[in-house]
Symmetry: C2
Subunit: 104 residues, 2 copies
């Protein structure tokens, strides 16, 4: 069964560090509560200020639910007003995957 990856790449402005950290933490906590949320990974390079968050959801309905959460909409608004110089959201369907783990 396929699932959805929401790939959010962004460039942070050099400003609003505490407020950004607060909202970033809140969003990472809230997305976990969405029915159909599977997992997420988040990285940012402190030098280039570029980063990516990839959130995985079971289906489009879960993506829609997350998009419509009011605190998430507020965070997106703050993102445009303050936090980001640029961002891109890609909605992708994971068609296959391979996992490898070191045998111990």
């Amino acid at each position: 069964m396929s699932y959805i990856a929401v790939i959010f790449t962004s460039t942070r402005r050099d400003s609003d560090h505490e407020e950004y950290a607060t909202w970033s933490h809140l969003m990472s906590e809230m997305v976990r509560e969405i029915p159909g949320f599977l997992d997420s990974d988040s990285f940012r390079d402190p030098e280039t200020r570029e980063g990516v968050t990839i959130a995985y959801f079971e289906n489009e309905e879960a993506v829609k639910t997350w998009r419509e959460v009011s605190e998430h909409q507020e965070a997106q608004q703050l993102g445009r007003e303050k936090f980001y110089g640029e961002y891109r959201v890609r909605i992708a369907r994971v068609e296959r995957e391979y996992h490898w783990e070191r045998p111990d």
Copy 2:
């Protein structure tokens, strides 16, 4: 038109730093030469040693071409022998995207 995102998440072992840097750089240069390569983003958290590389390709044929490049196969072999404790490769089809940039 849709395109492909190859999402490679991995955990580095705390070893082989120079050899890893050499191969990582070589791969980031070589993938750019693949016909149908579009773009890539790469991040790693030095504390958790977790990282992600997302490479975007026009189509599955480009993904296949990259997978079969001999130096890439050698890098994958070294990845399992030395560099990584764990990795996951997800092949996803980007179905839609949104871009926002701060108006100047």
